[in-house]
Symmetry: C2
Subunit: 518 residues, 2 copies
Amino acid sequence: MINITGQHLINGQWLNNGQSTFASANPTTGQSNSWNFFEANISDTELAIKAANTAFKKYRRVSALDRANFLDAIAHEIEALGDQLVEAAMNETALPQARIQGERGRTCGQLRAFAANLRTPISPVFIDHAQPERQPLPKGDSRLTQIPLGPVVVFGASNFPLAFSTAGGDTASALAAGCPVIVKGHPAHPATTELVCHAITRAIESTKMPTGVFSMVQSSTPAISALLVEASDVKAVGFTGSQRVGDILNKLTQARPTPIPFFGELGSTNPQFILNEILANQPQDLANTQVGSMLMGHGQFCTSPGLVIVEEGKGFEQFIATLTTAVEAAVVGTMLTKGIAQAYLTQLDQLISNDQLTLLGQGNNGEGQCQTPAALLRVDAKSFLADNTLSHEIFGPCALIVCCKNQEEMSDIAQSLTGQLTASIHGSESDINSSDDLISDVMQHVGRLMFNQMPTGVEVCHSMQHGGPYPASTAPQTTSVGSLAMNRFTRPICLQNMPQSILPAELKDDADVLKIIV
Amino acid sequence: MINITGQHLINGQWLNNGQSTFASANPTTGQSNSWNFFEANISDTELAIKAANTAFKKYRRVSALDRANFLDAIAHEIEALGDQLVEAAMNETALPQARIQGERGRTCGQLRAFAANLRTPISPVFIDHAQPERQPLPKGDSRLTQIPLGPVVVFGASNFPLAFSTAGGDTASALAAGCPVIVKGHPAHPATTELVCHAITRAIESTKMPTGVFSMVQSSTPAISALLVEASDVKAVGFTGSQRVGDILNKLTQARPTPIPFFGELGSTNPQFILNEILANQPQDLANTQVGSMLMGHGQFCTSPGLVIVEEGKGFEQFIATLTTAVEAAVVGTMLTKGIAQAYLTQLDQLISNDQLTLLGQGNNGEGQCQTPAALLRVDAKSFLADNTLSHEIFGPCALIVCCKNQEEMSDIAQSLTGQLTASIHGSESDINSSDDLISDVMQHVGRLMFNQMPTGVEVCHSMQHGGPYPASTAPQTTSVGSLAMNRFTRPICLQNMPQSILPAELKDDADVLKIIV
């Protein structure tokens, strides 16, 4: 068993300069946990950044193979934490055991996937050989590769205590890319954070990485977040969280003397478009699938389907009736924190008291302070389009059914969408073949478009794109999940006339990588 | 001969709603040209944006092959403008005939290069086939491609009236990517701009593209620039110009309700590091090459070498003496505009009156109002590091020689560099083999690193990277030159379980493109 220190991990040491503390709560019981965690102060934070910057001078020259071994070692050490990690995460998040175990598997799988990609790169390098005889001017030898940006700050996310937190997606891809990482632990799961840090420390030691390549500070105050993203030695930020906080941090990164990229995932309603023929044929299946997907993780998935766009035709009434029955039967769920539960209840109250909306059904209430009911509401397309507050994400097990009178209204909704991580189109073959314009419109607003599939569940694979136009992502040209995610922490560099002896390994003439050569 | 209308090109029509006008000047004579150009007003600007947005719904579905034919047609029509274009550009910029002809060749070559890349894509698509039997969960079919961002505003640049203006790099890559373009013509060369627009119009007609795919407004006022970058239908901005103006426009794009990418190239001093053995062996060659490069285009290239870092050792005195002689012999040159010439003279005066700097030599003054002398100054490394104003770009034929006492000082300079488009390292084989740390430090600050080559001249090829950390570029993860430049105007989208019949051409199973398949 690892003894929780409550301290920060800075340059390989557990320490604290500040003395004030905070505690995490068990959302199920509402009670504070027994551990206390120190609040990082300015000195802690600056030490972590300095260590990252020092480590970068070495880490940027660590070979891809050695970085792969480091990532594999982190995965191994996370698994070696065993039940202690699972129990800490369950305790701090109220997520069930199977979910935490699955998330751990996904987190380790992601680390190993990046390791595999470092060993066998999937993106080509570009090489233009010299043409000394070219007229009117000779052409030099030039070669294009990627170099790491520098130290990266990653903010732990409340809803994925493992996969989008300490050793989650952005950390894994930044380390894969050659960037040191400073994690700002999420205050809702500090013990989980600390345990994962112990695993990373062991991996740093066993693979002999520079100690400052990974640091972590615990903090529940905005001032430390601001200090981290404004530090001149920090070169990029990864953030998954609310649009309100994300916008604030993003503005700080852009107001710096030297702006840096801010990779923020700030919310998505993941619209589900249900076309006519499939609605007529399968109204009950569609309704049950919708409710099942929106209840996963008690609606706290980034890809939770919060908006359903459907035309009032054959099957419509049965679809609505089945939805209503299913949501009313939903067992109560516990949200991640008291603050998140209260924000959900406040938003739900606003929707219910909105004259333009009808409450279709609501699940059980429960009595725990973090327990919230599932809910479904309906609104007509015109009212939806007239009130842009209705297009905002509601974080939790709630969906809005937007009822269209005709295809034109459905098309208006597709064109008015804000940026989304995902959308789905549900349709028969004939539905889909007659929906060219709708599909083209929806594509412009999403990072991932699915057909006859629900959005919950994000595959870690080469072709994944997790990110979409703002506010789904503040950097829609990059992804936070999938093999190409590490590219967000690198930038291209052209090396011209560089001697073979000092070329990066992947650019040498004899490198065994995918090359595009002219 | 084309009759210059002085109007804006909006949705295929030449028109003007506003009545106020401006004229361009001939920098050589200082006289205003005879043409008058209408200042765009709000109505003109909004019409252009609306036309682009309407055109986008069609243009985003135009095939890559048809876009390739469109780009080729633009190149053909630019060449068909013949001497009229060359004369107009010479008249408005004072750039010599050979340079304008060369730049025209480069501009057309760039359009044709993108066309070739559209016909034979150089980047892979990623395909994950479905695994319906996978445990514990089946895997869906997912495929990753790129889609265009939407209407793009491109600001014409003063120093490249063809290659970075109306049909220049950003316009060519945006059109290649599937994005309509609205050009804000640079007020220093409006006749050149209008002529190129006539060529584009002919290409739109001959290849039957939507008329709104390209519009152009003439303006010399900041208000129209702001209107363009703040318009909700504009989805990206391309800008090459001063850091002052670029920062203002970038801030506007980030303050929008939905921020958009701002691809700004804002300045670079392109440092030249000269190592010891080569300095001892070739001091005169190095000096003459430096002066030759900094005088190209009278120092108005974005890659002009404005900073030379050298150690005081064997060859140093001869290097300085040769530099001085060469710059004093430099013939006077004419700058692009009176404003640019005056800004250069003001900056040069400040440098000369700075006690820490020594004027090594100065070229002839000339008498034209846009004529300016070349100049070389020296400063010691400590003084350079102590005054960060010395690291700013001086746009014109001026360079600062930074003299280091030892390798440590040279290393300090490398580490303190602001973002640069390029840098060069000049060294013998032994110099280079013993400079690992220096090379690694310089790489972190540049988009392109050269060995024993001067930076002026940017190849249009697959491996080019034109862009670097801020302020060289506001988007260092993208390039403005080279085959990959079109990627800045697209974003990835994952299509999951999409029927073969409606998949984009490049994602179909039978597509003849480079595929990474799992």
